[in-house]
């Protein structure tokens, strides 16, 4: 499966212009929103909840939403999940983990999928369909529900689109993690 990943600010548009979609490919597109880094910074910084509002072209419809397994550790009933595409052009996906903070911290992976969304673009080309794809709102909480900044945690990848080169992906992710670590260290020093 082809895939691209883009570092994403909480309200930044997905930079699909860097892609080169083929006009012929009007098939369903899989967009994967993933998190990275939360487990790095300490005892309470696993991801405990998210509430994403994703906006896109109103002509695009959502076929399905699949939640990842790192907030519920793969057990149905271990989290509260909500996916709502009732408003045209907006998808809200929310998951609240029921797992204890200690367990989340111990078992959660460093990088994982939050949601996978299958979009039907209909007659639109992918470029047109996702020209306005953006996260309107992204609330993320750590293992105990304290806010995490989405900027450092979210990546979005889209299947069915022409990928950006893989090294760029790695570089972006690496940069994000390095920045996270540096900031954490600075913060710890100040606290002494």
């Amino acid at each position: 499966m082809r895939r691209c990943a883009i570092g994403l600010a909480a309200t930044a548009a997905l930079l699909l212009t860097t892609l080169s979609p083929s006009p012929a490919e009007a098939a369903p597109l899989l967009v994967v929103v993933s998190a990275s880094g939360p487990a790095i910074a300490g005892p309470t910084t696993a991801l405990g909840d998210f509430d994403l509002h994703m906006a896109f072209n109103a002509g695009v419809t959502v076929q399905s939403v699949t939640f990842g397994s790192e907030l519920n550790l793969g057990v149905i009933g271990n989290s509260f999940q909500l996916a709502d595409a009732g408003t045209p052009g907006v998808l809200r996906a929310l998951e609240i983990s029921f797992v204890s903070p200690a367990t989340l911290v111990a078992l959660q992976a460093d990088t994982f999928t939050l949601i996978s969304v299958l979009f039907e673009t209909g007659a639109l080309t992918p470029a047109a369909a996702f020209a306005s794809l953006q996260l309107q709102q992204a609330v993320l909480g750590d293992a105990i529900g304290n806010p995490l900044e989405a900027r450092r945690l979210l990546t979005v990848s889209a299947d069915g689109l022409t990928p950006v080169p893989e090294p760029a992906t790695a570089l972006l992710l690496g940069t994000a993690i390095a920045s996270w670590i540096a900031r954490s260290r600075r913060r710890r020093e100040r606290d002494r």
């Binding site: 509430d51 699949t66 149905i76 595409a85 929310l94 609240i96 029921f98 903070p101 200690a102 609330v139």
Partner: protein
């Protein structure tokens, strides 16, 4: 997209959608109890789904019984107990599990052993026993042993022939021939012969009273209902033997009762002896009484033993010498607790130094003091708790670096702690940077050690001053600078008569210019002091100054912010007029002391009751008013926005602004308990005002009065939705007699925290998370998480409490939902069955005088109520229950008898309140006329919202409350409590007080006040039933009024009107003197109560 399509899309798309699943049924089939293999005669019921840690009941059968009697059809006792949430166990008194007919001694050993087995099985510290017939006697014999008694919180006796039975006499006498085929000639029945039980009673009653295990007796009075082969035969025999007395086929009703000194009678029901053990007959009232004792378990222990053990039983690094949670704040999602160390030892040692005595280590055997007070482990600690992880951390511990001994060269050789307690805390937003910091006030050890060599005489060193700490992150702490020669550097120098030992009360206020200030009191060890202020507190030195007058003139105790002003409670041992309330706008300078603020009185001279309460202790704004709880004798008042004030709880009395009548209807000081020495702490949480007390009854534990006062031990906790009607949450320190007080109540988004003092075994912290139970079903589960999710993006109205905003940031988000999920009652937020039942909120009482005082209770119906349970906390007259020869322990170790006190042996001594103030107040509690409120007991039930109590206790007004019991045996929180007889009405003295106030314009304020004092004297005398004294006071008042007739002619009509009321009062009192009107009616008519507790009340001296 249509609404329907949107909904369908939303449902389709959700990977796992919240489903409003059916409520888990509680009334599921109850699995049969099973024995633990090792002990074949003890059977355990299934543990109910909710609550997981319900109370434990051990069921004990009667004559010829076996454990399965409790669950085999038609008995539904086990099923009902299971459905109501109890953990159950059933013992067969024959260890081979056959029917038992043994005597008392043999069976009591089995009961005693079973109690321990059951507690071990359920890992519980105590249980209740429900015992049928002779099983209750076997049980009573078992709990005569003090060690066993400690394990049992109550015994329910169903039809036990405690006084023996004529049937047994007959069986072993003239009826032997008929009794043999009935199986009555057994050791068990032999034990029940009246002569045998008389011998048992002589021993058991005296010891049981001392053990303090409450017994509750229920009797049957209809041997043929339903027909039973044995009672059908024995009932008529017993009737014939007793002249037709009602009986259950085994004993007549009076022979199933126990002395009221330790037992409460639940009356008699029209069933036979065996039907009494049926759940449908007796379980609802057993359930009602147990819930009255245990409460509903909403306040969950999260730390105990001085932070040596957490709420889950895990060890922590605290110890029992963390006696007091002396300060608590909520900051950045955590609770911070400052401790006071070795409180009891430190207090005795301090008093020794102050009074030149040598009482250390004191007489309390439960306190652990070092042999030498210099070795006391006094280093105070700061802890914090993270609710989401349940993790406690000790974030600061005082250094032990203050030298208290020196060698010949002056080199220190022995040290004590720099801070012996952290008594005040506040979060302060720094001006300029806007950074929030936590400030903590310490107490120095100066009261113990500043008189030691090295700190006195020529060349003496200066004992280190008390200090303040601050932190920006909760883990790194700095001391506020105190350079000698600056203000804070010199605060240890005693310049006023009231000492400066440490900091106590912390508040912050922002002025009109946006400048934040931190206000603190610098006090002596008792807590009396003066107010300091700073807008840049971390600078220390001269960035602080004293902002109130000398504590010798204005002794300040507690600070609060109300309507943009600082309110201060004022009072001390000799402060005139009792406690007072002053305020300052923290702006206007004192014209006589530049640099200090002008303090103006809000209440002054009206805090005086019979003896002086030294001060007011706690303040809390609620529904726009400032509530103030006082020192002993404890009353609750409130200040209104217009500056007027109301009495809320406490004795009615005349004041400069009229005759005050308690709005709660509760007239007894200390909420009808003489032991409530402080209304100590208050908080508003989730729209309700909570009030916790300091209860000094535990001081009686090792006195001859122990048994009498056992039911009072432990603090009281109350709450109110409207600030006028209060409900009783607990009166016994959550079941721990050493839990003497609620020092801090702290409302947080993550629940209400309760900081409990325990000077003997270490402080305790509890938490109530019912505010998080959004659907009010009795537990936190995924429904509550869903309710937070449903509210995401809701903005909380500033200044209001929204239980869904768990991080308190003013906006409800998914993060709040996650915080909720960390608080679920069960793993993975599994659904919790409904256990919570709506409660009655508007109980009212009226007194009916026809046929003697009777109390009629009324309330609004509650949906789902199967029946209403009515409870009463009886009022006792100490005169009636304390034998005159009882020695009363004095704080100095000597004793006087109760009679000597009543004879006035201490009256002369107590003229000098300066030196003996506390001693006298302490003893005064035992003077004639003082009443005591006992624990709530089940009084009756009603299927409809109404109840008539035809026999209220004659000693004085009792407290009543009502709870709802539903069809599953679930019982609600209690309603508001009412005091009755005479909860309502307009007493004659109220009318008289109003008329006297009307005279103010003509006779002047001073004379009005003098007349008012006479009214108070009348109230006190009538309430204490000193009627001749009342008559004298009435005569004096009448003469004083008549004296004004000639000098104030224009008010002749008003004075005549007042004298008319005086005449009415005199007439009523006369009827009382002549015994033509009962005490209840007289006092109801005059002061509105049957025995206002007007003598002052005080416990041992203690820092607050």
């Amino acid at each position: 997209m249509t609404t329907r399509r949107r909904l369908a899309a939303a449902l389709l798309l959700s990977g796992l959608v919240w489903l409003a699943g059916p409520e888990l049924a509680l009334a599921q089939a109850t699995p049969e109890p099973a024995p633990v293999p090792a002990r074949q005669h003890i059977f355990y019921g299934q543990t109910p789904p909710a609550p997981v840690d319900g109370p434990v009941i051990l069921f004990v059968h009667g004559i010829n019984g076996v454990a399965s009697d409790w669950w085999q059809a038609p008995n539904d006792m086990y099923a009902m107990a299971y459905n109501a949430g109890y953990r159950t166990a059933f013992v067969s008194l024959s260890e081979n599990n056959t029917r038992n007919n043994e005597g008392i001694i043999a069976n009591s050993a089995v009961v005693s052993s079973a109690i321990r087995s059951v507690l071990g099985h359920y890992r519980s510290t105590h249980l209740f026993i429900v015992a049928h017939s002779k099983g209750a006697i076997d049980t009573q014999a078992a709990v005569l042993d003090p060690a066993t008694a400690l394990l049992v919180r109550g015994v329910f006796s169903l039809g036990a022939p405690h006084q023996g039975t004529e049937l047994a006499d007959w069986a072993f006498g003239p009826g032997q021939a008929q009794a043999a085929p009935l199986g009555l000639l057994s050791p068990a029945v032999n034990a029940l012969r009246t002569a045998n039980m008389k011998v048992f009673r002589e021993l058991a009653d005296q010891v049981s009273f001392a053990r303090g295990v409450p017994f509750f007796t229920l009797s049957g009075r209809s041997f043929g209902t339903p027909p039973h082969p044995l009672t059908n035969t024995t009932g008529p025999v017993l009737s014939a033997l007793t002249g037709g007395q009602p009986n259950d086929g085994v004993a007549i009703v009076p022979r199933t009762k126990l002395p009221t000194s330790y037992a409460t009678d639940f009356g008699a029901v029209p069933v036979n002896h065996f039907a009494l053990a049926a759940g449908s007959v007796s379980f609802p009232l057993i359930n009602a009484q147990i819930r009255a004792i245990t409460g509903n378990g909403d306040f969950v222990r999260i730390a105990t033993k001085g932070l040596a053990v957490d709420g889950r039983g895990n060890p922590m690094s605290g110890d029992r010498q963390n006696s007091f949670p002396w300060s608590m704040v909520w900051w950045k999602g955590k609770v911070y607790v400052g401790t006071g160390r070795a409180f009891a030892c430190m207090t005795v040692a301090t008093n020794d130094v102050a009074l030149g005595q040598n009482n250390y280590p004191g007489t309390d055997p439960d306190v652990e003091c070092t042999p030498d007070p210099k070795d006391l482990p006094l280093a105070a600690e700061i802890w914090r708790f993270t609710p989401e992880t349940y993790i406690w951390e000790r974030v600061y511990q005082s250094p032990v670096d203050v030298p208290i001994e020196f060698d010949s060269l002056g080199v220190p050789t022995r040290f004590t702690a720099r801070d012996i307690a952290f008594r005040g805390m506040a979060v302060f937003k720094e001006n300029g940077t806007g950074v929030e910091r936590l400030y903590v006030g310490g107490i120095s050890a100066s009261s113990l050690f500043d008189q030691l060599p090295g700190y006195t005489g020529p060349g003496a060193k200066r004992f280190p001053a008390p200090r303040m700490l601050f932190t920006a992150n909760g883990t790194s702490w700095k001391a506020v600078p105190q350079k000698p020669g600056t203000f804070l550097g010199d605060i240890g120098i005693q310049t006023e008569r009231v000492n400066k030992r440490g900091f106590r009360s912390f508040v912050t206020m922002r002025d009109d210019n946006g400048v934040n200030r931190l206000f603190v009191t610098l006090s002596d060890l008792r807590g009396v002091g003066r107010m300091l202020v700073s807008s840049d507190p971390s600078k220390g030195n001269n960035a602080w100054r004293q902002a109130s007058p000398s504590a010798d003139d204005l002794p300040i105790f507690t600070l609060a912010v109300y309507r943009n002003e600082i309110y201060a409670t004022v009072g001390d041992q000799n402060y005139p007029g009792g406690y007072a309330i002053f305020k300052t706008d923290a702006r206007t300078p004192d014209p006589f002391a530049p640099g200090r603020y002008l303090f103006t009185p809000v209440i002054e001279g009206d805090g005086m009751q019979f003896l002086r309460p030294r001060g007011a202790i706690s303040m809390q704004e609620f529904l726009g008013r400032l509530y103030i709880g006082t020192d002993r004798p404890s009353e609750l008042i409130r200040i209104n926005p217009d500056g007027s004030w109301d009495l809320v709880v406490g004795p009615p009395r005349m004041t400069a602004s009229g005759f005050k009548w308690p709005l709660s209807g509760v007239l007894g000081k200390g909420f009808n308990s003489l032991f409530n020495g402080h209304f100590y702490s208050m908080a508003v949480h989730n729209g309700e005002l909570y009030l916790g007390t300091w209860d000094w009854s535990q001081a009686m534990m090792y006195s001859p009065l122990d048994a009498l006062f056992k039911s009072s031990y432990g603090f009281d906790l109350f709450k109110s939705r409207d600030g006028e009607h209060f409900s009783v949450i607990d009166r016994n320190g959550f079941g721990d007699p050493y839990n003497a007080s609620v020092r801090n109540l702290l409302s947080t988004p993550m629940g209400l925290f309760v900081g409990i003092t325990n000077a003997q075994f270490g402080l305790e912290v509890r938490r109530n998370v019912t505010s998080l139970d959004l659907d009010r079903n009795g537990g936190i589960d995924q429904r509550d998480v869903a309710l937070v999710v449903a509210a995401t993006n809701v903005v909380v109205v500033p200044g209001t409490f929204d239980a869904r905003d768990l991080d308190g940031d003013g906006l409800i988000t998914a993060n709040d939902a996650r915080k909720m999920a960390t608080q679920c009652s069960r793993p993975n937020c599994a659904l919790v069955p409904t256990t919570r039942v709506p409660s009655v909120t508007n109980l009212s009482a009226t007194t009916e005088t026809v046929g003697g005082p009777r109390v009629r209770l009324a309330w609004s119906p509650v949906v789902g109520a199967a029946r209403y349970e009515i409870y009463r906390a009886d009022t006792l007259s100490l005169d009636a229950v304390i034998p005159p020869s009882t020695p009363i322990p004095l704080p100095d170790g000597t004793t006087v008898t109760f009679q000597q006190i009543k004879d006035g042996v201490l009256t002369a001594l107590c003229q000098d309140t300066t030196s003996l103030g506390d001693l006298c107040a302490y003893l005064d509690a035992f003077l004639s006329g003082t009443t005591l409120s006992k624990s709530f007991h089940w009084l009756g039930s009603s299927p409809t919202p109404g109840f008539l109590d035809v026999a209220p206790p004659p000693a004085g007004p009792s407290l009543y409350h009502v709870a709802v019991q539903d069809a599953f045996g679930r019982i609600s929180e209690p309603s508001n409590a009412v005091s009755a007889p005479s909860d309502a009405g307009s007493p004659a003295l109220g009318a008289l007080g109003d008329r006297i106030l009307d005279l103010r314009a003509s006779v002047g304020a001073a004379e009005t006040a003098a007349l008012g004092r006479r009214v108070t004297q009348i109230a006190e005398a009538v309430a204490a039933w000193r009627l001749h004294e009342a008559e004298a006071a009435i005569t004096g008042l009448d003469q004083a009024l008549s004296a004004h007739v000639s000098t104030a002619a224009r008010d002749t009509a008003r004075i005549a009107d007042a004298r008319t009321v005086v005449a009415a009062v005199r007439h009523i009192v006369r009827l009382g003197v002549e015994d033509r009107l009962p005490r209840a009616a007289v006092t109801a008519a005059i002061v509105g109560t049957t025995g206002v507790d007007t003598t002052a009340v005080a416990g041992p001296q203690a820092p607050q």
